[in-house]
Structures are given as structure tokens and as C-alpha cells.
């Protein structure tokens, strides 16, 4: 009996730690999506597909062209940042004053375009970097270095965004646009430029997530479906556009998935997470940290 309890606790602790590690990357994705929604007031339904393109970018640079991981990662981040800016320029900018449903459908269309493009261009095979990072063993608990690295890098990425938003003129302008877009020209701010920068930042975060996820998961054209929906749930639960809410919600969801996976299997973890989301929508429809207005 005692022996059973000991192992049980270790597995529980392992699952909790793994949940925290997963939460880091989910929080990174949620921050990117929240940034776009909070500032530009559009939802990029295709956000996870940008991650997928970034993962393919990493695969080609590392596996096909033989670049080392550390050289390929910044290029992939820049690539997806450019993709984000292009998405804004080509799809969103002409629809800025269109009804929200049209914007949703347009980015939804981009989702299918990117999935189909990947299918045609890269095929439906599962591909990976062929990099296997070692596993850290603490007692009987095992943590993969790829998850630890992802967690640390995600936190650093979020910290970088935080300081950018707090310290720089451009970052302050991004926060200001989210609060009153009409008077920005009185400050001398070109709102179009701020939107483009914000989109590139959102893309860069997706690119960073791609570099981290490609170490843990195989790439295929539909890999976005593994984190797209959950990212949206996180953002909605945290309150769309609310950075702090999204951060907290990411860790809540990650724990549910990780602990659910411990007691049953991973799919049940997702079922639990989605069920939790539905219940929360009844209790706090405007999100965890809804502003009282």
C-alpha cells in the first residue's frame, strides 16, 4: 500500500510539472493571439497554421538544408513574422471595417489555404527534425529536455514582449491603440504601421512556438489542429485580448490536460479541458478576469 502511494505521488508530481511545462508554450500561443485580437480587434482563426508553416520551415532548414537548429530558429521566427505581416497586409487590412463575421471567414479561408498548400507542397507524411534531446531523470521522474527548453524559451519570449510593450514608444503605442484607436493620429501615431508591427509580433510568437514544438511533435499539414482550438479556448477563458487572463488560463488548461492524461489517456485530458471550458462559459462568460464595466 505504502509503495503504491509513493509511486502514485511521483507520477502526480511528474504530471503537474509536465503540465506547467506545457502551459509555457500554450501561454506563448495565447499571448500571440491575444495581441492580435486586443490591438487589431480581429481573430486569426489560422494562427496555429502559421505555427505549422514555421515547423515545416524548421524541418526543411534542419533536415533538408542541414542548418544547425540554433541557426535555423531565428530564420524561422523571422519567416513567420513576415507571414504574419503579409496576412495582415493582404487579408486583414482591406477588411478592417468589415463586419467581424467576414473577418472570421477570411482568416478561416486562410486556414484551409495554408493546410491545402502544405498538403500539396510538403505531402501528408509526418516529418521530424531527427533531433532527440535527452531526458532528465530526477529520482523516478522523467522530464524531457525539449519540454524544459520549450518552457524556458517561451517564458523568455513572453518576457521580451513584456519589456517591449512597457519600455518602448512602439510598445506603448500598441497598448494605447487597443484603448482608443481614433485619436492615435493626434499623438502622431500611424495606426496602420502599428497594426503591421503587431501582426509581425504575433507572427514572431507563432514562429518561436514552432521552433519549440517541432522538437516535441512531428510536422504534418494538420498539426495546427492539435494546438489551434486549445489556444482559442485559452484566450476566450482568459477574456479575449486580456494578456494576464490568457497567461493564467494557459496554465489552468495545461494542468487539466496533463492531470487528465495521468488518470486516463491524453485524449481524455483534452475532453476534460473542453468540458471545463463549457462549464466556465456558463459561470464566467466574459472570461476569468473579466473587467467590470
Amino acid at each position: 500500500m505504502q509503495a503504491f502511494l509513493d509511486t502514485f505521488d511521483i507520477y502526480l508530481l511528474e504530471a503537474v510539472v509536465n503540465g506547467i511545462l506545457l502551459g509555457g508554450v500554450l501561454a506563448l500561443l495565447a499571448l500571440g493571439l491575444n495581441l492580435i485580437f486586443g490591438v487589431i480587434d480581429v481573430t486569426w482563426i489560422c494562427y496555429a497554421e502559421l505555427v505549422m508553416i514555421g515547423m515545416y520551415g524548421m524541418y526543411y532548414m534542419v533536415q533538408v538544408f542541414g542548418l544547425p537548429y540554433w541557426a535555423a530558429a531565428p530564420i524561422a521566427i523571422l519567416l513567420v513574422a513576415a507571414l504574419g505581416a503579409a496576412l495582415h497586409y493582404i487579408v486583414i487590412a482591406p477588411l478592417l471595417t468589415a463586419p467581424p463575421i467576414n473577418q472570421l471567414l477570411a482568416t478561416g479561408g486562410v486556414l484551409f489555404i495554408l493546410q491545402s498548400f502544405a498538403t500539396v507542397a510538403f505531402g501528408i507524411d509526418f516529418r521530424n527534425l531527427g533531433i532527440r534531446l535527452p531526458v532528465l531523470a530526477i529520482g523516478d521522474m522523467h522530464f524531457s529536455y525539449s519540454r524544459l527548453l520549450a518552457f524556458v524559451a517561451a517564458l523568455l519570449g513572453m518576457l521580451a514582449i513584456y519589456f517591449f510593450m512597457k519600455r518602448t514608444y512602439t510598445g506603448t503605442a500598441i497598448r494605447a491603440v487597443a484603448q482608443d484607436r481614433q485619436i492615435m493620429s493626434l499623438m502622431g501615431v500611424d495606426t496602420k504601421r502599428i497594426y503591421l508591427i503587431t501582426s509581425a509580433l504575433g507572427g514572431a510568437l507563432a514562429g518561436l512556438a514552432a521552433c519549440l514544438l517541432v522538437l516535441q511533435y512531428d510536422v504534418h499539414p494538420f498539426v495546427g489542429l492539435s494546438f489551434g482550438p486549445i489556444t482559442f479556448l485559452i484566450c476566450v477563458l482568459g477574456g479575449l485580448g486580456n494578456f494576464v487572463g490568457g497567461f493564467i488560463a494557459a496554465f489552468v488548461f495545461a494542468q487539466i490536460i496533463s492531470l487528465g492524461g495521468l488518470y486516463s489517456d491524453l485524449e481524455w485530458g483534452y475532453v476534460l479541458a473542453f468540458a471545463f471550458f463549457i462549464v466556465m462559459m456558463f459561470i464566467r462568460p466574459a472570461g476569468l478576469l473579466a473587467r467590470r464595466s
Binding site: T172, R175, A176, Q179, I183, M184, S185, L186, G188
Partner: protein, 234 residues
């Protein structure tokens, strides 16, 4: 300094201003008075580029305002304190002031301008890390004026600075306008509080139904019968 010639402006099919001619000379304080809906706010918005005129010309120190991109008009030396102050409510006082110094020219002078604003409004120094939405009405007006002054403007546009403020605070705001003036700044001020504003400005225009009905020095305006009857209740 500022010249408007036969300016028409409006929103969509609704025309709010009809053939406005208006001048502000360097160092002057000029008031625009008139009833609600006369087009006073539209006049301010058309000068600062928030809306563009459908007709006519606007020039600032000889430079064409209409041909300047809206976000570059600040660079011509025009700073606009909008109606209802329009602070960024969830940014701190510091960040609001920082936004006022966004243009490259103003960034270079940021520290100097911040000292200037804090000397003018010591209260803002105390509140600098407070979120603007939690300031009192008078403090918000100080912050909004401070934000406009951060760009080191030549011409300050004040849209209804006394709106929504308690009578004591209204007094303070007009005192502030006097102090800003004495620093040599040119001011164009829109107000419904006619009695108060005519004490602060050199000249005034009467705007009614989108056209200028009368203009003159403050004394002339005070002695005009229509203004006496309609706005001063004498």
C-alpha cells in the same frame, strides 16, 4: 499662424461646417463660442486632421495642413486636446505623457518636456504611476493638456476643457489656460462656458449652425447684444 479659408467639413452626407474663415496669430489666445451642435468640435477635428475638409484650405505657418497625413500634423506644431479628454484609461499617467511625445522630434526632448509638464502640473508628478482612468476629472484634464504639451507644440487646440468639471475645478482649468498662455503658447479654445472663456482669450468667434456669425475682441463680443442675450443671460 493658423489660417482657415472657406472650409467645409462634415460626416458622410451631413455637412457640419460651411465656408469657415478663421485666423489665429502667433502668441494669441482665440476662443470659439457657440451652442451645442454648432460645429465647434468639428472645427477642432478638421484642424488636427481627425476629419478632412471637403473644401477649402488650412495652413499652419504657411504649410498646407490638408495635404499633410493626419499623423504628421503634430509635427507642424499643432496639438489637440480632444473633447472629453480621451486619455488612455488603462495606461499610467507616465505612459499617457509618453504617447504625447511619440514623434521623433519630441522623443529627443522627452526628459525636458516631462519636467516642463510636471512643473506646470505638480499633481501629475505625484500621480505619475497611477492609471489615468482612476484620476479625478480635473486631474484628467491636466493629464490631457500635459500629454498635448509633451509634443512641444506651437498651437494648442483645447476642446471644451471645462466640460463635466465641478465649478471650482473649472476655475482652476481657466487659470491653467492663462498660465499656459503666459508661456508664449498660442491657444485656440472651444467653449460653451462663454463668460469664463472671454476672460482668458484676446479674440473670439461665434459659431452657429456651422457658420461664423460674429467675431471680435473679447470686449467687443461681450458688448454684442446677441451674445449678451443668448449666452450671458443679461
Amino acid at each position: 499662424m493658423l489660417e482657415l479659408r472657406s472650409v467645409d467639413a462634415g460626416y458622410g452626407t451631413f455637412q457640419a461646417l460651411f465656408g469657415i474663415n478663421l485666423d489665429v496669430r502667433a502668441g494669441e489666445a482665440v476662443g470659439v463660442i457657440g451652442p451645442n451642435g454648432a460645429g465647434k468640435t468639428t472645427l477642432m477635428r478638421v484642424i488636427s486632421g481627425l476629419i478632412r475638409p471637403t473644401n477649402g484650405t488650412i495652413s499652419m505657418e504657411g504649410r498646407d495642413v490638408v495635404a499633410t497625413a493626419a499623423h504628421r500634423i503634430v509635427d507642424l506644431g499643432i496639438a489637440h486636446v480632444p473633447e472629453n479628454r480621451r486619455l488612455f484609461p488603462r495606461l499610467t499617467v507616465d505612459d499617457n505623457l509618453k504617447m504625447g511625445a511619440y514623434m521623433p522630434g519630441a522623443r529627443a526632448k522627452y526628459a525636458e518636456r516631462l519636467e516642463f509638464v510636471f512643473d506646470l502640473f505638480p499633481r501629475m508628478r505625484e500621480r505619475r504611476s497611477q492609471v489615468a482612468g482612476t484620476l479625478s476629472g480635473g486631474e484628467q484634464q491636466m493629464c490631457a493638456i500635459g500629454r498635448a504639451l509633451m509634443s512641444d507644440p506651437k498651437l494648442l487646440l483645447l476642446d471644451e476643457p471645462s466640460a463635466g468639471l465641478a465649478p471650482v475645478v473649472v476655475q482652476q482649468v481657466f487659470e491653467l489656460v492663462k498660465r499656459i498662455r503666459s508661456g508664449g503658447l498660442t491657444v485656440l479654445i472651444v467653449e460653451q462656458n462663454v463668460q469664463q472663456v472671454l476672460k482668458v482669450v484676446d479674440r473670439a468667434y461665434l459659431l452657429e449652425a456651422g457658420t461664423i456669425r460674429a467675431s471680435g475682441t473679447s470686449e467687443e463680443m461681450l458688448s454684442t447684444d446677441t451674445i449678451k442675450q443668448a449666452y450671458l443671460g443679461v
